[in-house]
Amino acid sequence: MRLTCPICGDRDRREFYYLGAADYLDRPVEGEAEATHRYLHLRDNPAGVTRDLWQHEAGCAAWLVVERNVTTHEILQVSLAKDEIRDAR
């Protein structure tokens, strides 16, 4: 498996660290118990396209959002997490 880091280019899987669903980027407002519960514990588990957080740990150290299809192993998109957050604001 290879990922194309927006900064470094095409790189081997072992340079990357996997964190989990990109839901971690949408932090809920403090004090909202139900939203916090959803943020921490509730995840979809689709047989298809997922959005996950990866870090180019042994490379430029950037956090990435990787969109991939877990049934076909196709990598659809890799973008910088900081850009995703900026776009959401």
């Binding site: 900064i7 470094c8 072992r14 340079e15 430029c60 150290a61």
Partner: protein
């Protein structure tokens, strides 16, 4: 009073030669990490002092009395040259890194065995962050070979792993002639 003796990271370990590859230590005068703030006009004193702009990702540039190396997202190392007073996150890391030069005709074959990156396609002064074995490293392509930087604590492991690969490449070379 105790007299402390300064030792370089690879002291007693290098130089090393095997077949057509050579490994030797590089001791930069100083290593300064530089993480600029968003406002790029704050970097003017750096340009005035060193005569160059910060390099693009994956690049290094020659500067006055040294060079500037891209080392990660929004991070640069200034090697040898002194960094002027600057509005940026600046830290002295001179003692934190081990730096070696890998040269000789077999340098590319050695890298092919120990680094997941296709180093043969790098051009002089290009930089990459990648792995040497399991160690995160900064890899700089030079005209004659590669310069490799790892955390100082990994100096012995770096020399051990690279010299082992150099031996293996030399042995393979001897077999095929």
């Amino acid at each position: 009073m105790v007299e402390l003796v300064a030792r370089t990271p690879c002291e007693g370990l290098l130089p090393y030669e095997a077949g057509e590859a050579e490994l030797s230590e590089i001791i930069p005068k100083r290593i300064t990490s530089l993480a600029p703030f968003e406002d790029s006009t704050l970097l003017k004193p750096l340009k005035t002092a060193l005569g160059v702009e910060l390099p693009a990702p994956g690049q290094s540039v020659k500067a006055k009395d040294g060079r500037i190396v891209w080392t990660g997202q929004n991070q640069f190392f200034v090697l040898d040259a002194e960094v002027p007073a600057l509005d940026a996150a600046v830290t002295d890391q001179s003692d934190a890194w081990a730096m070696v030069a890998l040269g000789g005709a077999a340098a590319i074959d050695v890298m092919a065995r120990i680094c997941p990156l296709d180093c043969a396609h790098m051009t002089a002064s290009q930089v990459a962050r990648s792995l040497i074995g399991h160690m995160p490293a900064i890899i700089i392509r030079t005209k004659t070979g590669f310069e490799i930087m790892v955390f100082r604590a990994f100096a012995k492991t770096l020399v051990n792993e690279v010299s082992h690969v150099m031996d293996a490449v030399a042995a393979r070379g001897a077999l095929s002639t």
